[in-house]
Structures are given as structure tokens and as C-alpha cells.
Subunit: 472 residues, 4 copies
């Protein structure tokens, strides 16, 4: 939604949130689990705006609602009052295209041999097609195109062999490959699973005796939930009336968190792997200056994702930062796009330079990434038409040259401008006076202090797991 | 919808419609298959008003739309233009209660080992729970509570063993029990299946080289489709580019069509098993008079289902029929019900007697059935308050004493007034001066000429197949 | 709505309903005035389906809601609970075309020198343009194109001169010409006014000490309201806490009720001018047979408006009436019309002949009127394609040859088939074997017993008042 | 919308936009006037989110659409295509409470003696009640509670005396008092009027031969419209096919622009009276530091309106500015408010401090104003709970002590915290360590360069015109 006219961003695909409370726990008495999930998803809305869903465990039966729309559009008081249970999981999903996408809304709710179950999933399996083929060959039917359904099908089959769902999950984790942060709600448990590389974030919170899982800690703050820790790569965390239990599966590998979570996806106020996101962006701005210094009059961050790095760049360089753009936030889902002849207008209607700050100035324009290059070009031109004498573009991530297979929506590789253009060529394409990207090392340095290594495969093409059908 | 204030009717659960056309068939050029299905479902709307859905075969991929609402509410031109294919199936579903009923809308669309498939189903399996348990025990997950999903799960498993879907269907038919009229759309075929007893209707139509299936022939008339014949009990009919093919499965038994299709469910202009429905109702009216003659001044049919029998009764008795009621047809889904203290008002707002026709008259009131008795009582009282000196109630079906397990929504047995009251008691309960039901034999006689026997188990309790969990 | 595919009917333009209750009146305690108005409008819905509105007097302030849509769509419990008052008026309006028709929804609510006021109006002023011009020339602005606003503007000006609103109304009635049944709600009164010719119906009801006005008495029956009498031509009836008061204005002329209210517009269960509508239709059927006898096998009424006359024709002729058509009632507002090449289909989708009743039969087809002739032609052809050997059309009103200027939506005169064709020509046009219209005298005779004369100007062109801009 | 949880802001009431193009003007060929107005209103959305409307002059007839909702919600391509004309005016309106507010949506469209007319109005008349009384006393009816209707009624009466609408407007301007920026569209003209004090902004733009009016110049930038100048206080500007004409009425007084337009209402990228708004805010931040210096570690602006002043404060003080808050922008209209017991939560869900930037820091928190004080208190507490050791609040406007009668929605006077508390008391109330407001002189200085004087009556109580019914 935010990005209808800014199609030049990578897109996170999902956020998950879950709560389990003992029925006699009074510590969260001011909320029910459903409203806690509602506010939690509201805080995770930046991770997906296509659909929203909440499923609750109502004494073994699962009630749910999932629909296309924002959290605040899908739920009202009547629905929240209907969805009563001591355990709840929720999901927000990014807007993908395609006809029947309503069917892919989550949580996935199903009945299997051990009763009802709900799953909410963030990430992307890299061997989903192979797993689907195998399952179909033994008679499984699929009603969605989500990876959650693949996991559910594997889980229900594994459950026949194993006494507990945890044991079944351990087996499933030996089969699925890729990135997944997964919540599973069963009649008596709430379970969180993170893939062996820990690519997508997933944190544990606590309030009284109640445990909460969330894609990001920003969902905890307003609700007074204490951030306990991240779920570990390859870890299964089980909550039930007896409390919390952890299984560290043998699948776990070296932690390889997606570094773009820090660059762009996560909310700046979230703490992931011990590190606050805002800070890494601010530090990246400083490193960016050191790597690509420039003489200029003002620093302008492209709202909203370039603002933290702009401050860091400004403080490091001494060049004053100014609020160079007015962003119109009323765009909404129903904005009528200008016709094709006026492509430039789309960006301009949303982003207007503050002329007096730009006119006659040498401007450093800070953004978090360049994907196709089209929007960067339009923004540079806006600045120049507002009177900027020079526009120096600085980008707080390295050139994105490779597709992501781990839950990020990247355009086809040939549309990634950096996959087939040099930095100089891109600089010319976007009409900038100079262009500097932070180095991979610089970016990693900006994340110093995080207790994880990083997946940087979209910059390098070195994927941490084998990819089923890699685009060449 | 029609029946928000008339909860005293049995309810049909579904209607199905399907089309298969060769791509070069010009004979239906004025329609596409999707619009043909739209108009077909529109004609079948009386069989279900909760949800509507259409799935089309778009070169092997299935596109679909299914939602809560009437056919005319779910589809608009944009959607119909999107749903393009040379084959299509559609479904309307009756309004049941419950939280997540949206998930049960049909057609069921899925992917399995042989590609995409869509199913639309009318009827009710009597061994569904057993089949679900068996399937869950080998790891199957269920995402709806529909019988269609059970059939699909069996079919996908059978498909592994058999080379063709027809052969797989033959095996599935040996496992499922109960009533089903089923349409299956695969990448290259459209298949119709009717249960071995032929309990729910299903007919074949033809227009040029295009074949059409429908729950009732009324969907054919406006579209210029010729009624070919009924699908036979236990028959599988396959349409593909080579034409039509039939498999008469060994499962077929003595045809036992639900007689209530003639009494109430089907549209009067439909021809089922060679017999037009209206005529059986008209004849039942005549037989009813012979079985329960009465001296009276006017005959009044309760709109709309009692009108044909009223004419038959009038012609047999010589007592003139009058349009004794004005029915308000603007009720709609959103009608605000009067409060509890005014229960009688609900019926009266919808049905107003024409006083001058009733006042001072001995009235014969004809209706098709009595279920709970509450509405009959209200209507009798309306007539009396309009000045009727006597109200003689005549019912064109025998007392409904037993629940249906074959796709009709009957209330719990103890709520069927005839299950625990004699006719005299019912007469008193509904405040009538006399009450006469047509006999089972009389009703069967009214259907003379139909090439089928009948299931009359809701009158007799003699079910044609064993019932899994019979209410006692 | 009902008539999206039946554009060949004249259209009533509005219905009004009003209640005034003393605050301590317990006799209507089971309703509030607002819900009484809601159910009243629901019963009057046939008089207008475009918009609905209710205004209530909440201690001198007027609260209201009016919107496009059916009564059941515009109002829900939340709105009805908000609209609390001891007096209420409501309005339903017919669907006209045009851009800003939402602004014309009624009641008209306004503030003037004596406080708030609401008006609801059924009818059409014949000198509205002249009055508007005069008012505009002294500086009046108009925000709608309704006659109600003209009346309100005249009333507010007259109110300066006169001490009471009644006296002001008497003056206004000397200025406005044409047909109007008007309700006016002021802080302390509810007033009903009927034009000097009494062209549009308006009746008075009573329940306990509460008085009610309605376009038709059918709105009274379910609510237990006693029909007191019709408002007289030229009468002003005032209700306040002191009870009921009548002013018979000098403007009153010979009563000239619109005869089409009996033929088609009013609900058959309404009593107008002492006569039940159904009966006049039934009697017209008998007279029609006497005027145009025919040998035939069956009589078929075109649903719904031809059904009463069909029974009358049948009883007079001895030819049995049959329910020859199945009418699909799920059309709704959103029905997707078949494309232009398939014009016939529209009618057929809505109306399907019961073949067994028609095939090989000589059919008398009874309808209430022929306007353009297009629908009649389609229905005749349906009957013939269903196998009727002959179709004899009998119409229970005389040929409509002239436009109405009194609140009925007639097509332009040249589109009235009878304005430029003889009966023989029309017979040929509609493909009938014979065609007979009831005579004007016959129709008037069918209304014998009504305490009124009739306006029959749409048949004769003799208008009871001068027409401002008559179509020639 | 933005402010559902931030009720502690003054609220602008409206924005207006208008276009007049000669039919053969090719310079705006890429837009039609309607879409230009759509994008213009979109840029003015911050001035009103309750309703939006556009009226166009379609060869003398006015077509329009106005509804509750955002610009992007009210209009779609179908509506914009319907609204075709060479002249258009539009309006956005602030969300006020009350039952029938839909009726108050603008533009007001009406018919009067000289044909159709549409009005769009920003501001508030201070003698509206007196004018209404006078008009009602001569028979005028009012259908809305807007000042636009009062102006229209006066105008239509004046029009009788005068040959041109301009002359009539001159007379109307001698009668109405208060603040108004008004657009009037007649069959052949588009007219802009600004009150004699010039309290609300209104600017003139030009593109080719096409003239445009707008509340703010920010609506011009994306559309390539050149800002010509402000409409002068007391000026009437008329556009027709002959071009532009100005009448400087004798009513004009010393310009007294509302200073809060610079402080908060206007978009920072707008240029009003020759001065860019952003700059005044930035300068106010610097002055604020000089007037109320403080030792601190970081400067934090409250998003979004405190951000410019925060930069100014930072640059003046040398204290680094940080992006201290994450603002959740998905609130929307349908956000479910936390229950009463959790009042604090509302702000926190929307605004989350970036802990690492705040923890252990002495924070200067910059906001544009304090109205009730409740939100300021919550934000201060958020900062402290995030670990701020001190919170020094600096406000870039003086204490708001008096109600506004010129089109700004202020709470009742006793709810303005500064009307009955000293600065020290407020400091304590909001839990700040220190509190400093900019002085009136300082604020005026920040606007140096604007070619206007200012209304500062909400700080001083010295109103530039007499107030009809002043709150004491």
C-alpha cells in the first residue's frame, strides 16, 4: 500500500505473532489473547499488507478469521469478541499478485488425526516443489500454494509415527529446506520453530506467566511484554500449561540472518539478535560517508527508510541534515494512478521536495537500496527540478544483484539494475552526480554486536543452501 | 433468505452446474462457458443461497471465485471476464450456520498428482466421519468440513493406482455411501457422477457439440439447452474433446430419488426423471382432496410452494381457488427481525391475507409440508384473524417424522412436530378446524410416470442405506 | 429492482408513512415510532425501491437517515436505535435515473424560522417550474429537484404571514397544482395533506392514542393498526398532543383518484377509498371476459400483477387457470444483463413457462397493462415456444395512450405503443392470436364501491387540471 | 484519521481547490480539470479527512459527487470519467462529530435565478447565527449547518439587485464577517474570494491559459502549476474565457493571516504569502533554543509536526537530533481503540521510542503545540519509560489560551490546559523536567518575510473582529 508508487523496494513477505496464556493467568488480564494478537499484528503490519488473520484455540476447536486487507480492516470488535481462546496466532501477509490469493491468507487452519491445528509461517522453502511432488505422488491434495500447507502435510504424516508433535516437527525439519519462522497452535500447545539458519527473525516475549512469539520485538513494547530472547536457529520452543520447553534440533547450522532485515524490512525500533535496528542504519550512514565522502551542502534522507542513515551520514560528515521531502501519506489502496504518459507524476504526488532547502544546494540523497533504479531516478530528478545544483546518491546497502529465495519478493534478476550495470552506469541512469554504495563489509560492520552471521546472498549470489530452481 | 421468517421448511443443500465446450464449437458462441454457468446457477439459486462459486479450466490451470452471497452478488462483469475457460463448473450452497462457513464454499479447487482439479457436490455422505478418520490416520489433513474434500482425498489416492480418473472414481464409489451428485473438472475432462441410488437429481443437456450438466433442467430452458436425459444412478458420465462417454458402475442399485424434490425442493418448471415437477404438485392437490375432502368456500395456497397443489385441489373439488395472501418479497438478508415478544409479527410482515377473500369464508389452506408446525400455526391464525370462519389445512406430503441424512437440512428429530404428535394433536396445535396429510401412496401416485422409485425415509424411517450415526 | 428486465411497466414514484405518539401512550409500547415506520415503509416498498429515509422528531431536533437502497438495506438496528423520537415520518422513492439522485432522497429535512421541519411527499406538482421560477426570482436557492423543496420554500414564506403552519399550508395549497400526498413533521405536530383532487392515496390509522398516516393500508395490517379512513381530497389533518384535527380547505374539488392505483400500483391487500384492491382486479378479470370472450384451454396470469385478473377471468369463463410461469425472484440489483444480441433472454431468465401446462393448449394470457409492448411480445413468444397453439392476450386496463403528469413515470408519449397503433396493430406486434383490452367503463365498473371518481387521463388525455408543459 | 489517538491537536477545517480552463487550452491536455482537482485535493487532504467532493461545470449544468471519506475513497475512475467539465471545484472537510454530517459535505451545489452554482468554502463566519436568523425571518429554509449555505442564500438574494455575480459578492462581503476563502463556480465563471482579513490561505496558480485556485501551493507542485500569487485580503478574483480579473473590495482590512497555518496546519512544502512553511518551522526551532536553552544529549521531534523545529533547534544548539520515535502509520479509520483502562496504550501503539537513542539520555522533545496536555504527558512518559534521564519539552508556538472562531476546531476553553494553568503547572502536569514555549514575538519573527500580519488571538484573546457569541 505504502508502496504502490514505490515499486522499487524489496518486499518482506510475512509477519507472525502468537500468544499462549494459562487460563488462570491474571497478569494479562487487561487483554484477551485475541486483542493482544490484534495489536501485535498491527505493530507488524509493515511486514505484510495484503491479508491478515487470527486463529484462536477455543477449548480444542479453532476459530479464525482471515481476509484480504489491513489488520484494522479485517477485524472489528464483533469479530474479536467472537474469537475467544487462551491461545492465539496471527499472521500478516504481503501483497502479491494473482487471482486466488485470498486462498493463501494465513493462518492455515486444519483438522488432522490429532485434532485441530493452525499454522502461521514467515519465510520460503527452497525445496517446496520437490516436497509437493513427493506428497502428491502419494495422494496428497493441495488447496493453496503456500509453504505452510506443505509443512502441514508433512507434519500430519510424521505425526502418525511419533508420539508428540515436537518429535514430528524434528523430522519435518530434516526434510524442509530454506527460511522459515513458524508458529504452530495445537489443542494444548503453542510451538515456535525457526529454520536451521535462522534467516527470518523470531523472538520470545513474556508477560507474567504468558509467553508470546513475534517476528519482531516492536510488537512487544506497547503491550508491556518483556523481550526474553530470539528463538535460536534450528530451535523448537514449546509452550503449554507446564511452561516453556526448548528442543535444539540437530538441524541447526551457523546462524545466517537476512541482513536486509536490518537494512530495510524490520521496524527501526525492533531489537533482533540483541541489536536495535535503528542503530545499525544510523551506523551504516556514518560508514557510508567514510567509504564515499562528498562535499555538499545538505543531506536528505528519502522517507522513511533513508532517514536514519541520513542522520548517521550527517553526523559523520558534519553536513547538516534537512527534511528535504514532504511525503503525502494519504495514498491508500484506492489511489487513482496517473496515466502512463505521466509516469513521473506518481512519485511526485507522493513526495514533494521542500524547495527552499534544496534550491541552489549540493544535495546528498540517502536511500537504503536501489532495486530497479526507476524510483531513484525520479527522486533525483525531483531534487534537480527543485533547484539542487548537484545530487550525490548514497545507498546504505551494497548493489542488489541476485534474487532472494528466502521469503523476500525480488523482481526477476534481469530487472535488478545492478545485475547488469556497473555502479557508474547506474549513476548515469539515475541522473546522479555521483553514486556510492556501502560495501558488504561496511554493512556487516554496521551490524556489529548482533549475535549472528548474515546471509548476504542478494549481493553476492552465495546462497547458504542449495536452491531448487535458481534463476540464472 | 426467502426463509428467514419461514424457518419451518426443509432445506435443500446445494445445486451444481457444469459446461464443457470444444474450443471450436460455434454453437454456443453467444455465451462463454462462464456466463452460461452464471445464468445456470442463477436458475438454481433456489437450491442454495449462502454462497456461490464458479471455477473454470483455463488451459489446465483452474481460475475460480467463490464467496458468501447470491450468484448476482458474488459475480460481476469484471470477475466473469477474468474467469475464461472452455470448461466451467459452478455451485450454489444453502445457508447453514457456523463460524467459518466461508471455507466451505464450493467448487473445491485443488492440485494433486495429475494437475489441477475442481469439484462441486450436492448431497451428503452417510459414512463421511468414518472415511475422514481413516484418511486422517494415514496423515491426511482437512481444511473444510465438506464431503467434497473427503471425495477429493479419496480420489487423489485412488488416482495413484489407476490410469484414468474414471477408474479412480469407480473405486471411490465403492467406498463412499449416501447421496451425491458430483461434478469433477480436470484439465481435459468434465465428469458427472450420481450416487448408486440416484437420490439427488442431475441431468445432462446439450447445445450444439457442447455438453452441460445441471442439478435441474430449469437451468437449461432460457439458455436454449436441450434436455438429453438424467444421469443414471451409479453412472459416471465423461465429457472431453472426443464427446460423451458413460460408465455404468457396478455400484448402481435400485433408483431411489428423494421424493421431496418433487414436493418442494425442485423448481416447478424442472423435468426430473421424465416428469415435470409442477404436474406432480398439481396432481397431489387433486389426490389430497380425494383423500381428505372437505366442504369449504375457498381454496388458498400458501405462497409459493402451496400454489400448484391448491389449483389441483380446487379443480378436483370445484371449490374456487383465490389468491388469499399478499407476499412481501423485499425481505432480503438484512431485514431487522421484530423482537421476541412479537414472534407472530415476522410471518405477518411477510404474508398478509387479502381480507375480502377470507372474511366469512370457510377456507382450505394448502401447504406442501409441516415441519415444526410453528409457521403453520401462525398462518392459520392470520386467516382466522382475517375473518375465516373455518380453516381446513391440507398438506401435500405425508407427516415428516424422521431426519434426512442425504443432503436435506432437517431439524433434530424431536423438533419435527409429527415425530411426537398425532395428526389430531397437530391439528389442535396449529389451531386448524381439520388437518389432512396426503398419504405416502397418494404422494407416490402423484409422481406416476417418473422412471424411478423413491426415497420416502423422512416419512417412514426406512433408510435405503445404513446410517452411520442415526438420531433416535 | 423487480423490474430491471421488465421495463414495460408504469412506475409509481413514492410511498410515505408517518407516526405521532404522545410520549405517555402505552398502546404502542411494543414498538418505538421509528421501528413502526421501518416496518411501515417495508410494507410500502413496492411504491419505490431507489431510496429510503426516516426522520424523527427528537424533542424538537430532527434526526434522520436517508440513502439509496431498499428499506432493509438503508437501516440497521444501530441506526434505528439512534433515531429516537415520539414522532417519525418515512419515505420510499422509485428508482429514477440521473447523476445526483442521492440528493433527492426524502424526507427533506430543514431549518426555517419556526425551527426544524421534515417533509415527505408522494405525487407531482404540475406547476413546479413556474413556482420555482417565481421563488428563484426573489432569491430562493434550490438544492434538489424535488417538489418537496418547492413546497417547503412556499411554506416557510407563508409561515411569516400566518400564525400556524396549518394556515400557511392552506395558502400553499392555493398555489401548488397537481397531485400530492404530503406529510409534514414539525416540532409539535404531524400533518398530512392531500391534494384537492385526491389523486394519490393517503390513509389514516389509529392504534391506542397513536395516529398513523400511510400511502396504503397494507402497512397497517401486520402492525395491528386500525384503518380509520382516507384523508379527503383537499384536507389537512393535524395530529398533536391534543389529538386529531381536520381542516377541509376550500381548494377541494371532485375526487379524482388515479385509477392505476387499483390496476397495478397499490398492493392487492390495501383498502383505498373503502375498496380492497385485489377485488377490483379480480372483478376486472370477469368484466374482461365478458367484453372479450374467447375459446381457450387455459388461463395464465403474468406474475405477479396479472394473477388476480386471471382468476377473475377463469371463474367468469370457466376456463381453468394454471400457474403457467415460474418466476425467478433472485434477480436483485446486481444481475448481469445478457448482451444486446440476446434481448429475449432477459425475460426468459426471469420467467419460464411450465411446459406441460402450455404445450398443445390454447392459452389466454392475462396482464394488467401494455406500455411499450416489448415485454408482452417476449412473453407471448415464450408461450408459443413452449408449445401454446394459440395465445390470446387480455389486458385488464384500457390502452395507455397519454403521459401521466401526476407522479407516475411514463415513457415519452411516442414510446407508448397504444399512442400510435391500433389494437389490431398491437396484436400483430406482440404476435398474439387475439388481443382485448378492458374498456374504460369496464375498468371503472370493476372499481364500483370506491367513494371516489377517477382520473383516467392516461387513457383519454383529459387531464383533471391544466398541464404546464404538456407533451404533444 | 491520523489523529484518532492524538486528539490533542487543533484541527483545520477545510481545503478548497478549483480549476478553470478554456475549452481549447492544450496546455493542460494531459489532465482533465476533474483529475487535476482530484490530485489537487489529494495534496490538500491534510486539511480535512471527513468528506471530499468535486463539482464540475458540464456546459452550464453542474455534476458532482461528495461523500464521507478520503479523496482516494470517494472517487474512482468511473466517477472521475462521469464528472466532465471545463471548470471544476473541490473540497475536503475535517472530521467533525454529529449525526447528519454527510449533509454538510461540500461543494454546495444549487440552482438559483441565474442557473446552477457551486460553492466551496474554508473558514468560519462569526456572524452566521445572526445572518441565518435574518434570512429565516424572510422565509429562507436551510438544509445544512454550513456557512456556505448562508453565503449562497445571501448571494442569490443580492443577485436580484445586481447585474453580475461579482457585484452581488461585493455586497455579500459587507454582510458576512469572519474568515473565509471561498470558491464559486457559475455557468461561465470561476470566482475566488478571500475575507477582508485574509485569515485563511488561498493562492492563484497558472498553467498555460488555465487558472487554478488552491488553499495551498503544495497542490500545484506535482501538477506543474506555477504559483502566481496569493489572493489578497478582501479581493475577488474572477476567471472566465476572457482571462483573469480582480476586484479589490472596499471591505479589505489589514491582512491578519492565521499564524497557526505556519505553525501546524499547512503542509511544510507550501508557500504562503511568499514564505515557505517549512522554513518558518525550522526557524522557530532555532528561536526556541535561544529563548529556552537547555543542556541535553539529544533532540527529538514528535512526528510529524515537530520534526522541522527539532532540526532548527538542533542546528542552533549543536545538540544532535535523532529519530527518536517510530510512528505506526497503519492506524486508519477502523482502528480498535484499547479499552478505557489502557488509555496510555493508544499513544504507545502509534508511537514507539527507539530505546537505544533515548536510554540514559537527557532529551529535548520538540512539539508544535500543547492543547489539552494529555498527549504531551503520554509522550513524555514514553520517553522516560524508555530510559530518558531528563525530558525537556520545547513548544514551537505560545500557549494556546483562547478559542478560535475562524475555522479552527479548538476544544472548549476550559479544556485548553494553558487557559487555566501556568507554564510551571503545565510542566508538572506533563511530567517534564522543563517546559519552554516560544514567545509570540519569537513566533512572529520566525515568519519574517511573509507579506502579512498575523492573527494570534488564540494566544492573546485579541480577536481581529467582534465575536458573536464568545465563550468566556
Amino acid at each position: 500500500m505504502e508502496d504502490m508508487m514505490f515499486d522499487d523496494k524489496l518486499q518482506e513477505e510475512c509477519g507472525v505473532f502468537g500468544v499462549y496464556t494459562k487460563e488462570d493467568d491474571v497478569s494479562i488480564k487487561e487483554f484477551d489473547t485475541t486483542r493482544m494478537t490484534y495489536y501485535g499484528l498491527f505493530a507488524l503490519q509493515h511486514r505484510g499488507q495484503e491479508s491478515a488473520g487470527i486463529a484462536v484455540n477455543s477449548k480444542g476447536t479453532i476459530l479464525y478469521r482471515k481476509e484480504m486487507g489491513l489488520v484494522t480492516e479485517v477485524f472489528d470488535d464483533v469479530v474479536l469478541d467472537y474469537l475467544k481462546g487462551h491461545s492465539a496466532i496471527g499472521h500478516v501477509r504481503y501483497s502479491t499478485t494473482g487471482g486466488n490469493s485470498a486462498e493463501n491468507a494465513q493462518p492455515l487452519v486444519l483438522k488432522y488425526t490429532k485434532g485441530h491445528m493452525a499454522l502461521a509461517h514467515n519465510g520460503n522453502l527452497t525445496n517446496a516443489r520437490k516436497l509437493r511432488d513427493e506428497l502428491e505422488n502419494v495422494g496428497t491434495i493441495f488447496q493453496t500454494s503456500t509453504d505452510s500447507e506443505v509443512i502441514a502435510a508433512l507434519l500430519s504424516r510424521a505425526r502418525i509415527k511419533y508420539n508428540t508433535i515436537e518429535d514430528a516437527l524434528v523430522e519435518v525439519m530434516t526434510k524442509v529446506e530454506g527460511a522459515y519462522s513458524l508458529l504452530v497452535m495445537t489443542p494444548h500447545k503453542l510451538i515456535a520453530v525457526r529454520d536451521p539458519l535462522g534467516m527470518r527473525p523470531l523472538v520470545i516475549g513474556k508477560k507474567g506467566d504468558t509467553y508470546i512469539f513475534s517476528s519482531e520485538s516492536c510488537a512487544f513494547d506497547a503491550l508491556g511484554i518483556e523481550l526474553v530472547r530470539d528463538v535460536n536457529p534450528g530451535e523448537i520452543v514449546i509452550i503449554n500449561d507446564q511452561g516453556i520447553k526448548s528442543i535444539q534440533t540437530p538441524a541447526a547450522k551457523t546462524s545466517s540472518m537476512c541482513i536486509f532485515e536490518y537494512v530495510y524490512f524490520a521496524r527501526p525500533d525492533s531489537i533482533m539478535q540483541g541489536l536495535e535496528v535503528y542503530n545499525t542504519r544510523y551506523k551504516a550512514g556514518g560508514i557510508l560517508y567514510k567509504e564515499h565522502p562528498v562535499e555538499a551542502d545538505v543531506v536528505v534522507g528519502v522517507p522513511d527508510s533513508g532517514l536514519a542513515a541520513a542522520l548517521g551520514f550527517s553526523h559523520a560528515s558534519g553536513i547538516p541534515v534537512v527534511g528535504g521531502f514532504m511525503k503525502n501519506r494519504y495514498v491508500g489502496r484506492t489511489f487513482i494512478q496517473p496515466n502512463q504518459a505521466l509516469r513521473e507524476l506518481g512519485v511526485h504526488l507522493k513526495l514533494n521536495p521542500i524547495r527552499s532547502l534544496i534550491k541552489g544546494k549540493r544535495v546528498v540523497m540517502i536511500d537504503d537500496s536501489i532495486v530497479r533504479g526507476t524510483t531513484s531516478r525520479r527522486i533525483v530528478k525531483l531534487l534537480k527540478s527543485a533547484g539542487a545544483t548537484e545530487v550525490h546518491v548514497r545507498i546504505s546497502s551494497p548493489p542488489v544483484r541476485h534474487s532472494c529465495y528466502f521469503g523476500i519478493d525480488t523482481p526477476e534478476r534481469q530487472k535488478l539494475v545492478a545485475s547488469n550495470h556497473s555502479v557508474d552506469e547506474i549513476c548515469e541512469l539515475i541522473c546522479a552526480n555521483s553514486l556510492g554504495y556501502i560495501s558488504r563489509e561496511g554493512l556487516i560492520k554496521s551490524c556489529e554486536g548482533a549475535d549472528t552471521n548474515f546471509c548476504t546472498s542478494c549481493f553476492t549470489g552465495n546462497y547458504p543452501v542449495e536452491i531448487e530452481e535458481q534463476e540464472v
